[in-house]
């Protein structure tokens, strides 16, 4: 460290740009290494200017960086506020999606080993995933922004539908890709699609009266019981046949109508 330092006069002349070039160069090189001389310059910049720039820095620093999912949504043209609302959903976060992927992967691998039991387990599991995802996507316990949402001038019904649609889309895409990739392109790999729509819409209708988590658990449990009951003797895909699919379509339709009729109860 040198013993050379600026005095106040030199600091003023440097700040005002009045130093000759060589001396200014000396000052600048010295400033990089000398805290004391740097502090001499502090009064030479208006306080208000520094405060204004700091306010901008603080703004930029305090703005949370959106997660990868939210950035993806924004990139494909979703409005910022919608992306934020969807991004807050647990079941659209990476851990949830990763867990769903693993569950489906095991089921799909199982169906590669044994023929019909395996396929059955895949078809049973695939509709439960969106039900679970939707059940934790809103409501008092599932939604981290629930209280804010209640106070916000935003339709809870719309928010719920939007999240349910996003969850359904992401988990269906996952199951479809997994099914086509690992199980071949037989029609049965998509046989879970209508059941998952039916179960999800049923969960939504029940949520107008009860806690969404309980509704999801009840619907999933019922689904499991029915599947087990129809397969006690030997594996059968009866539940995924033509009659069954028509039934799921009917459930979906009725649930949709009920949902619209009861939409006020969500607010």
């Amino acid at each position: 460290m040198s013993t050379w330092h600026m005095d106040d006069g030199l600091a003023v002349r440097y700040a005002d740009g009045e130093l000759n070039p060589t001396l200014a160069a000396s000052v600048e090189a010295h400033l990089l290494a000398c805290d004391r001389c740097r502090s001499l310059l502090a009064p030479r910049v208006p306080r208000s200017r520094l405060d204004r720039v700091w306010a901008e820095v603080a703004d930029a620093v305090d703005t949370p960086t959106p997660g990868p999912f939210e950035q993806l949504l924004r990139a494909i043209g979703v409005h910022d506020h919608t992306a934020r609302l969807l991004g807050a959903t647990h079941s659209l976060r990476l851990p949830w999606i990763a867990a769903s992927t693993v569950a489906l992967l095991f089921a799909a691998l199982a169906s590669g080993e044994t023929t019909r039991w395996g396929l059955l387990s895949y078809l049973t599991l695939a509709p439960i995933l969106p039900v679970a995802g939707v059940a934790v996507a809103f409501g008092r316990d599932g939604d981290p922004a629930h209280e804010i949402g209640l106070a916000a001038p935003y339709s809870m019904f719309r928010l719920m539908l939007m999240r349910a649609a996003a969850v359904l889309t992401s988990s269906s895409a996952l199951a479809l890709v997994m099914g086509l990739g690992l199980l071949g392109d037989d029609w049965t790999v998509a046989a879970w699609l209508l059941p998952s729509l039916a179960l999800t819409s049923l969960t939504l209708v029940l949520s107008s009266r009860f806690d969404p988590r309980h509704c999801g658990a009840a619907v999933a449990a019922t689904w499991l019981v029915v599947v087990v009951a129809t397969n006690l003797r030997e594996p059968s895909l009866a539940m995924f046949g033509g009659a069954g699919q028509a039934g799921y379509l009917a459930i979906t339709f009725v649930s949709g109508v009920l949902l619209i009729a009861r939409r006020r109860e969500f607010s």
Partner: protein
Amino acid sequence: MSEHESWTDARLLEAVAGGDRRALEVLYARHAPWLVIRLTRRCADPALVDEAVQDTFVAVWRTARTWKGKGEVAAWIWGIGIRRLLDQLRRRPAVPLPAYEQVMVSAEEQVLLGIEYGELGQAMGRLSPELRAVVQATVLDGLTTREAGRLLGIPAGTVKTRMMRAKALLREELV
């Protein structure tokens, strides 16, 4: 007032890397004034300088963990600051550059202090402003040929030829 005020720059920067916002505020209070003044000597438009200073401290917040812990924190901040100013200038190429008239010679403080009234100082004084500006941007500000060209508004090739000419002239003067 908090204990942060008494910390060294290096310690503050470590705290910033750990997400300590108060540490960033203290760093800003220490380093923003000289950065504003030094950048103002490179670019006379205060709006651009403010933007560059703002970008610099946001970058300090985001990249504090990349600091190696060696050398002066001020030098690290300057390296970010001058490049953020270049980014600003590139974004608004219509802004005419003020003359880059101050001469800078060497990064070594002691050398610089010795040359002011010495032979090198006089030799530098005899260079044309264009040649001096190139010496300043590349030697003292630590910019690459291309970055210096952007700051001065001339092609990189011109920076190289002017630097060669400046070196030749200084050699003639000093030998």
